[in-house]
């Protein structure tokens, strides 16, 4: 991997990696740190990494740093759906905002795998490699997350 390759990777993936981390932890400074550390780690191993593996390497590194950060930071609270007000899509014109609020209520791992799935379009197999979870676990987490989001967006009797 040359300097040009690396700088190109920065252009390609720095934003998406930052979005992924920032959506998981609502802390810009920590998100920036994780992105920087991930790229530095990539650079240290650049001589033995193929360019095609760079994105996966970055997200894998960032994911594990994210989990470590979450474990250390007790301020990150996992939401409890039972205590939250259920909203309907009609309450706000911006469904994405509602959805992102709902995402913040997800447990860390569910949120991470769902963001990898939707933001980056990773397959279950790729998410398995990034997170170290089994493929079936990944699938269950994603199904649970979607079910949770559906419940958050509105109970079916309200919508009807």
């Amino acid at each position: 991997m040359t300097i040009d390759d690396f700088n190109n990777i920065v252009d390609l993936y720095a934003d998406s990696l930052y979005r992924f981390i920032l959506k998981n932890i609502k802390n810009k400074e920590k998100a920036e740190d994780i992105v920087q550390e991930s790229f530095e780690q990539l650079w240290k191993n650049a001589h033995k990494l193929d360019v095609s593996k760079a994105k996966s390497y970055l997200f894998t590194t960032a994911y594990h740093k994210l989990i470590d950060t979450v474990k250390k930071d007790k301020r990150i609270i996992i939401g409890d759906i039972e205590n939250e007000k259920t909203v309907t899509p009609n309450e706000s014109p911006d469904l994405q905002n509602i959805l992102h609020k709902a995402i913040d209520k997800l447990p860390t791992i569910q949120k991470a795998v769902l963001l990898l799935r939707d933001y980056e379009g990773y397959s279950y197999k790729e998410i398995e490699q990034i997170t170290g979870l089994s493929e079936s676990q990944v699938k269950v987490y994603i199904f649970r997350a979607r079910h949770f989001l559906k419940e958050y967006l509105g109970k079916i009797d309200i919508l009807i």
Partner: protein
């Protein structure tokens, strides 16, 4: 089968134990119905068999675990599979049919479609430029250090080599002991041999390049070396008479071992000094030297001579003079490498 008082109880017990065939049961029940005493006996035996009671534990539901977190029905499973793009053809058929027929399921499906997240492209990493690398020094960090180490070792070896060879020298009483210069002069000499017509004035000579000095020079001074220039030698400073010399009037003495004639020497000296607006006085003497008598003109000789040779051979050697109150330092430099000697005033 014949039923009488001696075996009626046996058949009643067999009946309740379900050991009789349907035919035997029929015969038994017909016989009992015809005899009141047999019927009473049958009812007594019947009452001896305990019927199970239906007991219900009232808090059974409380014992069950709440699995509602992830119990999804088939329809929801299909909806999620559609959103996840892992739905198969059979499920697609079910999906399409149900969407047309069931309003409630269609609503559920619409909500599941909303759970698909979209990246917020307004979020950009603010320090992207800091991540980028601008120098190969970082990338090849290890290689860089290996080369640095190798360069340092070579440099130390080189410096030690130079200074060991010069370590005997005290404050220099001799100037101009430069092997590079000597070699270049040899080159010049060889050129002069090959073209006896003229050394300096020929333009073709001026543009002709000598062989690279790197192949010939030894890159360091030898102690007590003398500057050889057409076999004119630099004399020790102590022996030089500095009277009657100025910066524009230099006396140059011929050495004792020259094989060149006066004309050739004058042409050479003309090139060196006249073009630099110096006047010189060439004197032939059996003990003469190619030196100015005045001490501070040594530097001029070297400077002009070096510059001439540099121009002629494209050797890039530069001469510099550094003066202080007590010392003069003369330096010959080739690139970043320089050799210098100090002379006391």
């Amino acid at each position: 089968m014949k039923i009488n008082n001696s075996n009626i109880e046996k058949y009643i017990i067999e009946y309740f134990e379900c050991n009789l065939s349907p035919e035997e049961e029929k015969i038994l029940l017909d016989t009992i119905n015809q005899n009141i005493s047999y019927k009473e006996l049958f009812n007594i035996y019947k009452s001896t068999y305990i019927q199970p009671e239906t007991v219900i534990f009232p808090y059974k539901n409380n014992l069950k675990k709440n699995t509602s977190d992830f119990i999804i029905n088939e329809w929801e499973d299909i909806c999620i599979k559609y959103v996840e793009n892992v739905i198969n053809n059979n499920e697609k058929v079910i999906l399409l049919n149900e969407l047309q027929e069931d309003e409630v399921k269609r609503k559920i499906f619409e909500i599941y479609k909303l759970t698909k997240l979209k990246p917020d492209y307004r979020i950009e990493f603010p320090k992207k430029s800091l991540l980028k690398k601008t120098s190969s020094k970082i990338y090849y960090k290890k290689i860089f250090w290996y080369y640095s180490l190798a360069a340092a070792v070579i440099g130390i070896f080189f410096v030690l080599n130079v200074f060991i060879k010069n370590s005997i020298s005290t404050t220099s009483s001799y100037l101009g002991k430069l092997a590079i210069l000597k070699n270049e002069i040899k080159l010049f000499k060889q050129t002069a041999h090959s073209d006896k017509k003229t050394i300096i004035n020929s333009k073709s000579h001026q543009t002709q390049k000598s062989p690279k000095i790197k192949e010939l020079n030894t890159n360091y001074f030898h102690n007590n070396d003398t500057l050889t220039f057409y076999n004119y030698y630099a004399e020790s400073i102590e022996n030089i008479n500095t009277e009657n010399e100025t910066e524009q009037n230099i006396t140059v003495y011929k050495g004792t071992d020259t094989t060149y004639n006066e004309k050739e020497i004058r042409e050479l000296l003309n090139k060196i000094f006249t073009e630099n607006q110096y006047l010189y006085n060439l004197t032939f003497d059996t003990t003469s030297y190619f030196v100015p008598k005045k001490l501070n003109l040594w530097a001029l000789i070297f400077k002009k001579g070096t510059n001439f040779i540099t121009n002629y051979t494209d050797s890039k050697i530069k001469f510099t003079q550094h003066n202080s109150e007590k010392y003069n330092r003369f330096e010959l430099a080739l690139g970043n490498i320089s050799f210098s000697r100090i002379t006391s005033k």
